[in-house]
């Protein structure tokens, strides 16, 4: 009888609320914002997990151990030695990454095989497989402990946040130079209609992922890419954005900044116009300034003359 009631108790307390319980236990230490350790390379790594953010994330109910459990990361029992071998499906992808990253991503791939398959074809995955430590994996775009869906306005994959998420890498000159990718993409996006319309509240206006896709992003030279010249027209027409528009229309949006080499005529006209603007407005303000001054002087003189006359 005693064993039976213990079992019942274990079932009642143990199975359903287990995840929540164990999370609360972990967070008794890890909710300290200053908790950190120095890793083997001498880098300070935060061990802080913000409880409200984790409990608000899509993985709240999974609990800490769903990802950290079997792997025993950190000082919780000499973790690194106990890592299971990586799955053959993603081992090649992860072989150049540091051990902790391998573990983290193996966790994502374990539960999300479809997304893994999609991602495997992308230019980002190609770079990761070649040994890039810059190219993004799951957590670089989705975050780690605070992952939420794109409906959450704070999520890095919310359409309003996507440009900033992409820009966190694509605006970095040194990083992009390694892959011969221009950082103009961010600047040109922000100066064009899509970004501006979104800033003034058009929730349908395109962001990076609207045209480039998400998990399977490919460079424009790849024939399968949504932004390959052969496919752009279809990409513009998707989701009812620009249906029935011609190839010339589709080819007109390019992430290029006019320069002496690219569209020199646009570059020239832009600068001539800017010069004209300074000239015209400068003359205008000078004229107004001198005109006001002259009038004041004339008034003062007239007043003085009137005084002297009497």
């Amino acid at each position: 009888m005693r064993r039976c009631s213990l079992l019942t108790l274990a079932l009642a307390l143990g199975l359903a609320p287990l995840a929540a319980d164990e999370t609360a236990q972990c967070l008794t230490c890890h909710d300290n914002a200053n908790m950190a350790l120095r890793d083997a390379g001498g880098k300070v790594r935060s061990l802080f997990v913000d409880p409200p953010k984790f409990y608000g994330s899509v993985h709240a109910r999974k609990g800490c151990l769903a990802c950290h459990g079997n792997l025993g990361l950190g000082p919780h029992g000499d973790a690194l030695g106990k890592l299971p071998p990586l799955d053959a499906r993603y081992a090649p992808l992860l072989r150049h990454l540091p051990r902790a990253r391998q573990v983290a991503l193996a966790n994502c791939f374990g539960c999300h095989p479809t997304q893994l398959d999609t991602y495997q074809g992308s230019v980002h995955a190609q770079q990761v497989a070649k040994g890039s430590l810059d190219a993004p994996l799951c957590d670089d775009c989705h975050g780690a402990h605070a992952i939420t869906g794109k409906e959450d306005p704070e999520s890095p994959i919310n359409p309003d946040k996507v440009p900033a998420t992409c820009a966190s890498c694509h605006a970095q000159r040194q990083v992009m130079a390694r892959y011969d990718v221009s950082t103009n993409v961010v600047q040109t996006f922000e100066s064009h209609f899509h970004a501006r319309k979104r800033m003034i509240g058009d929730t349908r206006a395109a962001v990076c992922t609207s045209c480039h896709g998400t998990h399977r992003i490919l460079g424009p030279k790849d024939p399968k890419s949504t932004v390959n010249p052969a496919n752009v027209q279809a990409t513009c027409a998707q989701d009812g954005c620009h249906p029935g528009k011609g190839a010339a229309f589709a080819a007109s949006f390019k992430h290029q900044v006019p320069s002496t080499a690219v569209e020199p005529i646009v570059y020239l006209v832009k600068h001539v116009h800017e010069f004209m603007m300074v000239l015209v407005l400068g003359t205008m303000f000078l004229h107004i300034f001198l005109d006001v001054l002259r009038r004041k002087l004339n008034e003062a003189r007239a007043a003085q003359a009137a005084k002297g006359g009497h």
């Binding site: 003034i200 080819a251 800017e274």
Partner: protein, 238 residues
């Protein structure tokens, strides 16, 4: 005693100018929020005018107003030419350059008096031609942006990018020039406060007119002057 007035503009000219003012103000109000979309004021203007789609619609209404105004003015000029009442008073001439130099010297105190202007001063002519040129530029580039599919087939990507850049740059130049420069020197300057009434009534007081346009006044009012032009005896305003 009632102040004597001069009919400077006829009814059509007053109406053309009023439509131009309304269209340009609407275009500036609905265009600038897109150019400066990353600023708070732009976002609140956009919000109060129906968001991005509201702005787009109002901007196109303004555009139709400007296009109509431009065509109206062309028809008006054509009618004046056909009725032989056209006077090239807005055409630039050599005196304008001399007047500009004269004004510059006057403003820095090197000449004692202001230039004596004809019917339109060189500044007013500049405004007229700047508005004309600006309208042609804004209408053409605006149509390219309004109909990007057709425009790209005709002018190509470079033409489209050119239109985009010019529309955006010229808008700022035109808005600042009209709202500050034009308003200052035709309305505020010269003691015409609160403003020059010509844009509302077509009329100016005789005293103001003689002061600001002495050459024209003397030509039309000196004894034995040439017969009056049609726009000296315009249709009265209602």
């Amino acid at each position: 005693m009632k102040t004597r007035e001069v009919q400077r503009w006829d009814r059509s000219q007053v109406r053309q100018h009023q439509l131009l003012v309304a269209s340009v103000l609407l275009l500036v109000l609905t265009g600038m929020p897109l150019r400066y979309a990353d600023t708070r004021p732009a976002q609140s203007i956009a919000q109060s005018l129906g968001g991005a789609s509201g702005l787009a619609l109002l901007h196109r209404i303004g555009a139709l107003g400007l296009i109509f105004c431009f065509l109206w003015h062309l028809c008006y000029l054509a009618r004046r030419v056909l009725r032989r009442s056209f006077r090239p008073s807005t055409l630039p001439c050599l005196k304008d350059f001399a007047d500009a130099w004269h004004l510059a010297l006057y403003l820095v105190g090197l000449r004692p008096t202001e230039p004596r202007y004809d019917r339109y001063s060189f500044l007013e002519k500049f405004d007229y031609w700047a508005a004309t040129g600006g309208s042609v530029l804004m209408i053409t580039t605006g149509l390219v942006l309004w109909f990007p599919d057709w425009a790209n087939r005709i002018v190509g990507r470079t033409g489209f990018d050119l239109a985009f850049n010019l529309h955006s740059l010229e808008s700022v130049l035109a808005a600042l020039f009209l709202l500050i420069g034009h308003v200052y020197h035709v309305h505020l300057a010269g003691g015409l406060l609160p403003f020059n009434m010509v844009w509302l009534t077509g009329r100016m007081t005789e005293q103001e007119y003689r002061e600001h346009h002495p050459v024209d006044w003397e030509r039309t009012h000196s004894p034995g002057s040439e017969p009056k032009d049609a726009d000296d005896e315009p249709e009265p305003l209602p």
